[in-house]
C-alpha cells in the first residue's frame, strides 16, 4: 500500500523503501503523456460548409402542388379542387362531401399507383348502410369499391400511364354513392380523408 500510494502521488519514499521509487515522477509523467497521446487522438472537426445541393424533388417547390398530399400538410389547400372541408379535424383529417376532387402535379407517369387513406365512421353506417366509392383519374374510372363496414380504409391501385400527364395537373375524384346527413347541422358528408396521391 505504501508503494502504491507513493507511486501514484509522487511523495518522497519512506525510509527503507526500495530504491525504485526514484522513478516515480518519471513514470507517472510517462503515464500521463501516454494518456494525453491516446485521448488527444480524438480530434473532432469543428464545422462544415453546406455541401453540394442535390437536385431533388424534395427541395423547395415553386408549385406547391405535388404528387401526394396529406390533409394536415402545408400544401393541402393547394391540392383541393372541391368538396373537401376547409377545417382540419384533430390536426390530421378533413371531411369530404359526396365527390371530393384533388389536383396533383406529376414529374413522371410510369409505374405509378394511386393511394388514398381515408375512414368511414361506424356511426354513418346505421343511417346509410354499406357504401361504394368510385375512384376517377382524369375522368377515367380507376375502380369502384364497396365497403360493408366502417373504420380505416386504404385504397391502392396501379394507374395506366396513358391516363396521366406531366405537363398539366392530374385530377382525382372519389365519389361516394350515399352521403351521410349529420344530425346536428344537416351537413351532407362523404368520408374522412387523411392523405392521397401517387406513389411508385
Amino acid at each position: 500500500m505504501g508503494y502504491a500510494s507513493a507511486f501514484l502521488s509522487g511523495m518522497p519514499r519512506r525510509h527503507g523503501a526500495p530504491p525504485f521509487s526514484r522513478y516515480t515522477h518519471w513514470f507517472v509523467r510517462c503515464l500521463l503523456l501516454a494518456g494525453l497521446f491516446l485521448t488527444g487522438c480524438a480530434g473532432l472537426p469543428e464545422a462544415f460548409p453546406p455541401p453540394i445541393q442535390r437536385n431533388s424533388p424534395s427541395g423547395p417547390e415553386i408549385n406547391p402542388v405535388g404528387h401526394f398530399v396529406s390533409m394536415n400538410g402545408p400544401a393541402a389547400d393547394a391540392h383541393i379542387v372541391r368538396d373537401i372541408a376547409a377545417g382540419l379535424e384533430a390536426g390530421a383529417w378533413r371531411w369530404t362531401g359526396q365527390r371530393p376532387e384533388l389536383r396533383f402535379r406529376l414529374s413522371s407517369v410510369k409505374g405509378l399507383r394511386f393511394v388514398m387513406d381515408f375512414a368511414l365512421p361506424d356511426v354513418t353506417f346505421a343511417q346509410r348502410g354499406p357504401v361504394a366509392i368510385s375512384f376517377f383519374i382524369n375522368g377515367h374510372l380507376l375502380d369502384k369499391v364497396r365497403y360493408e363496414g366502417g373504420g380505416q380504409k386504404h385504397f391502392e391501385k396501379a394507374v395506366p400511364s396513358a391516363w396521366l400527364r406531366t405537363d398539366a395537373d392530374t385530377l382525382v375524384a372519389a365519389e361516394i354513392d350515399k352521403v351521410w346527413v349529420a344530425p346536428a347541422d344537416g351537413a351532407r358528408l362523404g368520408f374522412i380523408l387523411s392523405r392521397a396521391g401517387f406513389m411508385e
Binding site: S58, M199, E200
Partner: protein
C-alpha cells in the same frame, strides 16, 4: 500435386523464419532451455518477431515476396551461424513408456487429420472473408492501405502478419498451415511444461484433451487465430512458471513479448498483459524484491508488440482501439450504436434462452455456438479439484482469467485460450486414477473423430468432416472443391470476372473476399457502409422516409446562429434529420457558402441534413441524450422567422427546441417545441438512393434473395436505376446505371 509444393514451402519457410528469429532472440538474451523446449520457445518467440518485421515492411510499403524471401533467408542464415558449436542441452525427464505411446498414437492420428484439412483449400467463414481477404489485399498493395470501410482491418493482426508472409509464397493454404503449426505446438508445449514440473501423466492427458477437442481441431486447421492465441498464452504461462522457479531476469523479455503479442494477435488476449505484470509483480512483492524495473521490462516489451497496432489505428482511424471504445474516442469510421449492437450480438449470438443450455451446446451439440469442445468437457467442474495442488492453482488462475473473454463473445472458440489450462487442471485432478485418465483420453479421442462426432453433434456444428487428401494435394482443383463446398465462392469469382478493377461492390452479406481482388463493402462493417445501407433502405421503409415535418416559428429577428437541441434522453431511438431549412417569411434562405454547420454527436455527417437529398440524413448513431444538437452559423446576422426540419418517423421519442444566438452573442430559446405536420413521401427515392450510392464510389450491389427488399430490387430494377449482371446461388449482382 505440384500445386501443393508452394503451399508446403510457404508454410515451412514461415515456420522456419519464426524458429530462426526465436533462436536469435534467445541467444541474444543468453537464454537456454531444455533440449526439447528450445524449438518450441524459439517458434513461439520468433513468431512475434517475424510478425513485427512484417508489420514494419507493410507499413513502409515493402510487402513484396522478394523482400520476405530475402529477410527470411538472412534470419535463417544468422540463426544457423549462431547455433554453431552450442553445447548439448540438458533433457527433460522422459515420459513413462505407456504414456508416451498413448500420446504418440493419438497425437499422430489427429495431426494427420488436421494437417490435410489445413492444407485443403481454405473455406472457413472468417478466414476466407477477412483474415485472408485483408492479407491478400495487403500483398496486392504491398502494404497497408488506409482502410476505413472494414472494421476487421482495424483489429490487431499479429498472426495475419505471419499469414501474409506465408501467403506470399503459398497463398491461402500456406497461411492456414501456419496456424496449424501453432496447433501442434500447443500440445507439445503443454506436455513439456508437465514434464518439467513433474506432472507427466497429467501433461499427456491435458495436452490431448485440448488437442483433439473438435473446435480446437477445426479452428487450428483454418486461417483463424484462436489456437495461436492459446499457444501464445500457454507459452506465456510456461515462461512465467520457469521464471518463478529460476528467477532469471532475462526471461522477463520473452514474457513481455508474449504478453504483448497476445494483444497483437487478438484484442481479447489483452488480459495476458495484466496477468504477466500481476504475476511478476506479486511474486516479487511477496518475496520483498525490487519490482519496478522487472515490471518495466515486461511492460516495455509488451508495449513494443502492442503499440504499433494502437498507433496505426490512432493515426488512421482516430481511435487506437478501433472498432471498440468509440464513445471514448469518437470518430467518423465506426458508429457508437453499431458498436453497441455488435457487442450485444456477440454476447449472445447463439440466442440461447437460458444459461443451462450452454453446457450441452458447448460440449455436445455445437450448432448454435459454432463448434463444440467435446463431451469430455462436461467434466470440466472436476478441474476445480486441482485447487488442492499448487500447480492446479497456478493453472486455474489463467483458466479463469482467459475465460473472461467468453463474456464478450459466446462462440465456443472463445473458450479455446482458456482450454489448455482447464484441460491440465482436469487431468491433474484425476491423476490419482491413472487408468481412468487414459480411458478418458481414448474416449475423448474417439468421440472427437469426425465419423463419430457427426453421430451426436448438431448437423450444422462447425467441425471437421473428413481427411481431404485429394483436395489437400490438389488432385481435385481448388476451384472445383470450393465451388462444391463454399456457398458464396462462385459469387466471389463472378465478381472477379464481371466487376472492373477499382470498382466497389456494396453487399448486405459477408463474401469470401480472399477469392476476389475487388473491394467489397459490407453494410454493417463500417460507418460509411452503415450510411449506404441506410440510403438503400430509405426507399423501402416508409418509417425511414422524411415525412414528418417539424416547424419552429418565432418573430422575425436577426440571428447569428441557430441550434436545434434535443431535449429527450434515454430510449433506443436514434435522432435523425433529413433536411433542415431556414425561412424568412415564405422564402427559404439559400444555403450560403459562408454558413458553418455543426452537430453533436456525429459531427462528421452534418452535411447530410443540408444537401437537399431525401435519402440522406444526419443521424446521431447514438441513443438519445439531452443536449444533442444541430447548429447553423450564418456567418453574419441574418433575419429569419422559421426553421423547418424534415424528419423520418422512426424516432418516436425525440423532443426538440430551437435556440438562437443574437448578434450580441447571447443565446436564447426561440421556440420550446415545433409544430408538426405530415409530409408526402418524396418521389423517386429509389433513383435518388442509387445516385447517392454512386456518388460514394459504389459501382455494384450484391443482394441475396433473402435480404430485406431483395424482391423490390429485382422487380423494380429500372426504377432503382440498376441492371442485373448475373446470379449465383441466390446472390444477385447488379450494376448501377450511369
Amino acid at each position: 500435386m505440384p500445386q501443393a509444393l508452394p503451399i508446403l514451402l510457404g508454410a515451412a519457410f514461415t515456420v522456419a523464419v519464426c524458429w530462426a528469429f526465436g533462436q536469435l532472440l534467445l541467444r541474444g538474451l543468453s537464454l537456454e532451455f531444455r533440449r526439447q523446449e528450445q524449438p518450441v520457445f524459439a517458434f513461439l518467440l520468433g513468431a512475434p518477431c517475424l510478425s513485427l518485421l512484417v508489420f514494419l515492411l507493410a507499413i513502409t510499403g515493402l510487402a513484396y515476396k522478394g523482400v520476405f524471401l530475402g529477410c527470411g533467408l538472412v534470419v535463417i542464415a544468422l540463426a544457423l551461424w549462431q547455433a554453431r558449436g552450442l553445447p548439448h542441452r540438458e533433457s527433460l525427464p522422459p515420459l513413462p513408456r505407456l504414456w508416451r505411446i498413448l500420446f504418440g498414437a493419438v497425437f499422430a492420428v489427429f495431426t494427420v487429420l488436421y494437417f490435410f484439412n489445413a492444407m485443403a483449400p481454405e473455406m472457413s467463414p472468417d478466414g476466407a472473408a477477412y483474415h485472408l481477404g485483408l492479407v491478400a489485399r495487403y500483398l496486392r498493395e504491398h502494404g497497408f492501405p488506409r482502410i476505413t470501410t472494414n472494421i476487421y482491418a482495424n483489429l490487431s493482426q499479429g498472426v495475419e502478419m505471419l499469414f501474409l508472409f506465408a501467403f506470399a509464397f503459398g497463398r491461402h493454404s500456406a497461411a492456414a498451415l501456419v496456424h496449424f503449426a501453432f496447433l501442434i505446438t500447443l500440445p507439445l508445449a503443454m506436455l513439456l511444461y508437465a514434464r518439467r514440473f513433474s506432472l507427466a501423466e497429467a501433461g499427456v492427458a491435458g495436452a490431448l484433451f485440448t488437442f483433439v477437442s473438435p473446435v480446437v481441431g477445426i479452428d487450428g486447421s483454418t486461417a483463424y487465430l484462436d489456437v495461436a492465441v492459446a499457444a501464445i498464452l500457454f507459452g506465456l504461462f510456461y515462461l512465467l512458471q520457469i521464471w518463478n522457479a529460476e528467477r532469471r531476469p532475462a526471461l522477463l523479455v520473452p514474457i513481455g513479448i508474449l504478453a504483448g503479442f497476445g494483444y497483437a494477435v487478438k484484442y481479447t488476449a489483452f488480459l495476458a498483459v495484466p496477468y504477466a505484470l500481476g504475476f511478476v509483480g506479486f511474486k516479487l512483492w511477496r518475496a520483498r524484491k525490487p519490482w519496478l524495473r522487472p515490471l518495466l521490462v515486461v511492460g516495455i516489451c509488451a508495449a513494443a508488440m502492442m503499440v504499433p497496432w494502437m498507433a496505426k489505428n490512432a493515426l488512421w482511424l482516430d481511435n487506437p482501439f478501433s472498432p471498440f471504445f468509440n464513445s471514448i474516442f469518437p470518430n467518423p469510421y465506426v458508429y457508437i450504436s453499431f458498436e453497441k449492437q455488435y457487442a450485444q450480438h456477440m454476447r449472445n449470438y447463439g440466442e440461447l434462452k437460458s444459461v443451462w443450455e450452454y453446457p450441452l451446446e458447448l460440449t455436445v451439440r455445437g450448432g448454435r455456438l459454432c463448434g463444440l469442445l467435446g463431451p469430455l468437457f462436461l467434466l470440466a467442474p472436476l478441474g476445480l479439484a486441482a485447487l488442492r495442488f499448487p500447480a492446479g492453482r497456478q493453472l486455474l488462475l489463467p483458466a479463469g482469467l482467459f475465460a473472461l473473454s467468453y463474456l464478450a463473445n459466446t462462440g465456443t472458440r472463445f473458450l479455446i485460450p482458456a482450454l489448455p489450462f482447464l484441460s491440465l487442471a482436469m487431468a491433474l485432478a484425476l491423476t490419482a486414477w491413472r487408468p481412468l485418465v487414459a480411458v478418458l483420453v481414448l474416449a475423448h479421442a474417439v468421440l472427437s473423430w469426425p465419423d463419430v462426432l457427426q453421430r451426436y453433434c448438431a448437423i450444422y456444428a462447425w467441425r471437421l468432416e473428413k481427411i481431404p487428401v485429394r483436395q489437400a494435394l490438389r488432385l481435385e482443383s481448388e476451384d472445383s472443391y470450393l465451388t462444391r463446398k463454399m456457398f458464396f465462392y462462385p459469387m466471389a469469382r463472378f465478381i472477379e470476372e464481371q466487376v472492373p478493377p477499382g470498382s466497389k461492390v456494396l453487399s448486405f452479406n459477408q463474401l469470401p473476399e480472399a477469392y476476389t481482388s475487388r473491394e467489397i463493402l459490407v453494410v454493417y462493417e463500417a460507418a460509411l457502409n452503415n450510411r449506404l445501407g441506410d440510403i438503400l433502405h430509405i426507399p423501402l421503409i416508409p418509417e425511414f422516409q422524411p415525412t414528418w415535418q417539424h416547424s419552429f416559428r418565432f418573430p422575425a429577428q436577426p440571428l447569428a446562429k441557430i441550434r436545434v437541441v434535443q431535449t429527450a434522453s434515454g430510449g433506443p431511438d436514434l435522432w435523425s434529420v433529413s433536411e433542415l431549412r431556414v425561412f424568412e417569411g415564405v422564402r427559404e434562405l439559400p444555403r450560403s457558402p459562408i454558413w458553418r454547420l455543426r452537430a453533436w454527436p456525429n459531427p462528421w455527417d452534418v452535411q447530410s441534413a443540408f444537401d437537399n437529398s431525401p435519402v440522406t440524413r444526419w443521424r446521431s448513431w447514438q441513443s438519445l441524450f439531452s443536449g444533442m444538437f444541430l447548429e447553423v452559423d450564418f456567418g453574419r446576422p441574418t433575419s429569419i422567422d422559421s426553421v423547418r426540419l424534415d424528419c423520418s418517423g422512426d424516432q418516436y421519442l425525440v423532443r426538440m427546441k430551437l435556440d438562437g444566438q443574437e448578434p450580441s452573442g447571447t443565446w436564447k430559446t426561440l421556440a420550446d417545441s415545433p409544430q408538426q405536420a405530415e409530409l408526402p413521401p418524396p418521389p423517386r427515392l429509389r433513383q435518388a438512393a442509387i445516385e447517392e450510392a454512386r456518388a460514394r464510389g459504389i459501382g455494384y450491389l450484391a443482394i441475396q434473395d433473402s435480404d430485406f427488399g431483395a424482391d423490390d430490387f429485382r422487380q423494380k430494377a429500372a426504377l432503382w436505376g440498376i441492371k442485373l449482371v448475373g446470379e449465383r446461388r441466390g446472390l444477385r449482382l447488379y450494376e448501377l446505371n450511369h
